[in-house]
Symmetry: C2
Subunit: 338 residues, 2 copies
DNA sequence: GTCTTGCTTGTAACCGGTTACGTCTGCACA
DNA sequence: TGTGCAGACGTAACCGGTTACAAGCAAGAC
């Protein structure tokens, strides 16, 4: 009985005078269904307004048609681009994307477990999930780690260390800066940890010492503003600030000039990520271009490819490490082309 | 048989020597199950590592245990706060949140339809979904509109028009500004449309005309930077800029000083939303505090309450309009307490 | 005319929970 | 001892698709 709800396969089958198997075959474009029958079924679907139930097919296929993405937070253009990259691939495959921001949750570990129960695969940003939990989950379903390193997993990342080394060297060699300071968390996020390491590499190579401990607050714009205020209050401004990401750099850019510090005249600034705003702020921001969108889409492709595999007992993905290229973008904030 | 996959109710039932019904009752804390049996079942669950399948219970309950959120984009702290608000309520109810950014998708309408098929209810940001589509979806499942108006739906919003009127009046009355210009899209987003209307209200009340057309680019930080560059290039700076939101204001703040324009000395700036960064940037940003988190949590509560209702044929939610309070926050960027 | 062969279509079991209804047990009471 | 009743638990149907296998049928080979 069509009852009160949506039509089901059986309704369509009855209406078209065929069996449910045939209806199912038509929805899957199975070529064995002959022209006449096929048209009749399609007409019935149209007439009844039939759409396959996600719930029903999910059970039958043992698949959620959902991809999980675990990020520290939801704010910020970096994550927006990452999600967009993942979603563009997922949409293609008729898969929904479920995002989890762990920093928003007091019960992050529980939340990740929950997410794992309702998705077919996970994309995890480095630093959001403890390694052991990550390993345990990877036993059960495909996991790809983004912007992080792990010997037993599939990882998609950039070589942040080398890029940061190069950019820092530019400040030293091209602009003669000798007192450099790092802004941004240096642990927790493998991504920024690598950048900090590259920063130190370059200083060591030039025989310089850090001009003070890294200014550690967080990785969002507002922490850049806090860092700027702290530096200004301390009174001992370095020649250049190397920010862990562009967001922090923007926070600095929206604060220091208001406090009477000119950029790059009094202090040079560089960021990391090359967000859209980097080319528009004033001064324009020197940074490292990262293929964030591609990071997301590549990760999604790897996960989805794995979910498509046979229905046999799940086997963890063989480890793999994909390193996507970066490119330094020299603009005004470091002192170039002012 | 236990086969290769996860244990099912039948596995637990066999292991505990009871029926599947009893197992199901135990997972639901049904008090009719007696102590001894109950303990035995719990022990078996523990022993087998049983977790109910989301797929199976979803089918039986006809529920996805998922809440959909439709936003224009994913970037930006405003949406992050909104999602966080919704997620905090959803997590409580064991419901996942599925976010869709329509501006990222060329096939937004299709995507919304898809989302509606896999969620139990929808939270929709005003301006993202055409009114007729919204109405059609509301016939099928609970929908709450956030930051928008609609006579037939449940809406959760703030009175942006009144707030913008008040803030604009402050610029005119307290600081004597007479040449004011609006920055931000004035259509598409009902939210910013209302703010623009309030801006005009205040000017009209003061007998002033707008100092030029609104600078329309978009609603993200980078468009604020573009607006700043455009204004600077035009050379005819107004006394004050009223930005449609804080993000735009930050874009301006990260650009104008670098171009030699002091804030608020040369031009005053106000925003809207009171993001975290507003109190930290320099100058600190005068804005309107909005309970964005509450907007999200309230919307989620309304949707979830509706999904919990009987399994009888779905009836659209009765229209309702919830207006949450706002509060002006006067800081340095308008010229106050400099 | 019978037997293959090959193609289209149908039957029914299954995915993993949920739950209406029925059964069984034990106890109180007549 | 028989009857009624309530509480604890089991049976089996169902949610809406999918699919292995079987069945039906027509055309071609002999």
């Amino acid at each position: 009985m069509a009852g009160t709800g949506r039509p089901t396969v059986r309704d369509v089958a009855r209406h078209a005078g065929v069996s449910v198997a045939t209806v199912s075959r038509v929805t899957h474009d199975d070529p064995v269904v002959t022209g006449g029958t096929r048209d009749r079924v399609l007409a019935s679907m149209q007439a009844l307004g039939y759409t396959p139930s996600v719930l029903g097919s999910g059970l039958a296929y043992q698949r959620h048609h959902t991809l999980g993405v675990v990020l520290p937070g939801l704010g910020g253009p970096y994550f927006a681009a990452l999600i967009q990259g993942a979603e563009s691939v997922a949409a293609e495959a008729g898969v929904a994307v479920n995002v989890l921001g762990t920093h928003l949750r007091h019960d992050a570990v529980q939340a990740v477990h929950q997410l794992a129960l309702r998705t077919d695969g996970l994309i995890v940003q480095g630093g959001t999930v403890p390694d052991d939990l990550l390993g345990a989950i990877a036993e059960k379903l495909p996991v790809v780690l983004v912007a992080g390193e792990h010997p037993d997993l599939v990882t998609v990342r950039t070589d942040g260390r080398a890029a940061a080394r190069g950019l820092t060297a530019h400040l030293v060699e091209a602009h003669g800066h000798r007192r450099l300071r790092f802004v941004g968390a240096t642990h927790g996020s493998p991504d920024t940890t690598a950048r900090y390491a590259g920063f130190r590499d370059a200083l060591a190579a030039a025989g310089l010492a850090e001009h003070g401990e890294p200014v550690r607050h967080g990785l969002e714009a507002r922490y850049g503003a806090m860092a700027a205020r702290q530096l200004h209050a301390e009174g001992d401004l370095p020649d250049a600030l190397v920010c862990a990401n562009d967001e922090l750099a923007f926070g600095v850019l929206a604060t220091l000039p208001g406090l009477g510090v000119a950029i790059p005249r009094d202090v040079a600034i560089v960021g990391f990520d090359d967000l859209d705003l980097a080319a528009l702020a004033s001064p324009t921001l020197t940074t490292v271009h990262q293929p964030v969108h591609d990071l997301g889409s590549t990760a999604a492709e790897l996960v989805l490819a794995a979910t498509r595999r046979s229905r046999e007992p799940f086997a963890p993905l063989p480890p793999d490490d994909r390193v996507l290229p970066t490119r330094p973008v020299l603009r005004e904030s470091c002192g170039c082309s002012t």
